[in-house]
């Protein structure tokens, strides 16, 4: 059964990457999706990131009670946990909820109102026209959002750490800049890229194969979020195993 759905998913992805009818129209759609996914999610990602950074710093400080460990380590821990895990994964889980449900319900509605049939009848490759811009929009913008998230998390951590007196400004910055491994940023970008692909394709698949009416569109949207989240967590583990 799982193989049946996976096969259908692969076939859909294949259809998505067929040659576009007119590049200019696809280009415009891609820009539209980039704006909608990128700018549309910037607010929520910013708020979440600042708090994640703040909480990480405060809690790390709380756990480091020994006087033998230099306080600057708090900065390093905040930096690494943010880059490696918190920013890419939590942002993607949130985006699965926000972007994924919107993709699934948008495409699902087009399916049940026969708009997808209308595209097919015109001779347009509906999967390509509807889904490709969303995949590209996501794959371009979600890694950028993760970079923003990382920057804001560290900023949040700095503000919370210094404001609460847990760590001084100089110590935090010293921690941040000591032993930084650029490879962790690379891992974060790989995660963001793969999670973006998962969110957009899984949600598009759920929407595309909606059958019925308004209730089914709702179901597809819920399924899109749940399955995306699970797939993100599984691949998070796999990437960590493979790259670290």
């Amino acid at each position: 059964m799982v193989f049946h759905y996976f096969g259908k998913y692969i076939l859909l992805i294949q259809a998505v990457f067929r040659k576009p009818e007119k590049y200019i129209i696809y280009k415009n759609e891609i820009f539209r999706e980039m704006v909608s996914i990128g700018l549309g999610s910037l607010g929520i990602i910013s708020i979440i990131s600042i708090f994640i950074g703040a909480v990480t710093t405060v809690q790390t400080a709380f756990q480091l009670t020994s006087d033998l460990i230099p306080k600057s380590i708090i900065g390093g821990i905040t930096r690494d946990s943010t880059i490696l895990e918190l920013s890419p994964t939590i942002c993607s889980l949130v985006l699965a909820g926000k972007v994924g449900s919107s993709i699934a319900s948008q495409i699902g509605t087009m399916r049940v109102t026969e708009q997808i049939d209308a595209l097919e009848i015109m001779g347009i490759n509906a999967p390509g026209y509807l889904i490709l811009p969303k995949i590209l929009g996501g794959v371009i913008m979600i890694p950028m959002l993760v970079i923003v998230a990382i920057a804001l998390s560290i900023t949040g951590g700095y503000l919370a750490g210094t404001a609460s007196g847990a760590i001084s400004s100089a110590e935090f910055i010293q921690g941040l800049t000591t032993d930084f491994i650029p490879f962790t940023l690379f891992v974060a970008m790989v995660k963001a890229l793969i999670f973006a692909f998962i969110i957009t394709t899984v949600s598009a698949y759920q929407g595309y194969y909606t059958d019925g009416g308004a209730i089914e569109v709702g179901n597809s949207s819920t399924k899109a979020v749940v399955i995306s989240c699970i797939a993100i967590l599984i691949s998070d583990y796999v990437i960590a195993q493979l790259l670290l």
Binding site: I25, E114, D117, I121, G123, I124
Partner: protein
């Protein structure tokens, strides 16, 4: 001309089309009628390739559509216009962009040329000047007319309409029927309409196909339909009081 040859279609164990054969000619409005569930929509979807028949052929002017691959089908699809039951307008686009969309995708026409075509077809469906409205701002009848405008924007050789009158008041229904039938004559289109509306049958029924439980039960014109002794067809035709009363008056 569209030739349908011995089409069979099953959904699981449910045999919906049991060997349908029919010809549809250019310049003629053909109606596929029958009660709900008789397989009308399924027949139409098999003709345009939204469903694959289990066996049988659909031939568009000597081109065997059923045996073509996706790429080759697209060439025929560009000659097909379709009006959907719920209009199926793209709700993220204005009326103008809806109609222009196939032109944008498939032609190299300039902006002005495309706008001329849009305004042309909008005028043809009596919606001149409604370019900038969104589908959500239109009534059901207006949406259908935009649907027709979009379907004819590419000057199709074949036009399909699924229940063009559903959800419309009698006056708007007649308007849509007459519009489609006029356009069919004007551009010599091969038009196929699925309907269960007897008003349409009596209004524009030049060529009528009556489906009953997935079979072609009767074929003829509106002049013959009231005088047939086909039992199932009579039950369908005289299901409403209106038809009976009208005939008695005659």
């Amino acid at each position: 001309m569209i030739e349908v040859k011995d089409i069979f279609k099953k959904f699981g164990d449910n045999e919906v089309l049991k060997g349908i054969t029919a010809n549809f000619k250019p310049g003629v409005t053909s109606l596929i009628i029958g009660s709900s569930g008789s397989g009308k929509t399924t027949l139409m979807k098999n003709m345009v390739g939204l469903h694959e028949p289990n066996s049988g052929k659909v031939i568009y002017d000597e081109r065997d559509f059923t045996s073509l691959d996706t790429k080759e089908r697209i060439e025929i699809r560009k000659e097909i216009g379709m009006l959907f039951q719920g209009s199926a307008l793209f709700d993220s686009m204005t009326v103008e962009r809806n109609i222009r969309f196939p032109l944008d995708m498939f032609t190299d026409q300039g902006k002005g040329e495309k706008l001329d075509r849009v305004n042309d077809v909008l005028e043809r469906v009596n919606l001149a000047g409604k370019n900038k409205l969104f589908p959500s701002e239109l009534s059901g009848g207006m949406m259908k007319r935009v649907g027709i405008a979009r379907a004819i924007a590419m000057r199709p050789k074949y036009l399909f309409c699924d229940e063009p009158n559903s959800g419309l008041d009698p006056k708007s229904s007649i308007m849509i029927d007459e519009l489609v039938s006029e356009i069919t004559k004007e551009y010599d289109i091969t038009t196929v309409i699925v309907t269960h509306d007897m008003n349409s049958v009596m209004g524009i029924g030049e060529h009528i196909l009556f489906l009953h439980q997935g079979e072609k039960w009767w074929e003829g014109s509106k002049d013959e339909i009231t005088s047939t002794d086909n039992k199932e067809l009579n039950e369908f035709v005289f299901a409403t009081k209106l038809m009976e009363t009208l005939l008695k008056k005659k």
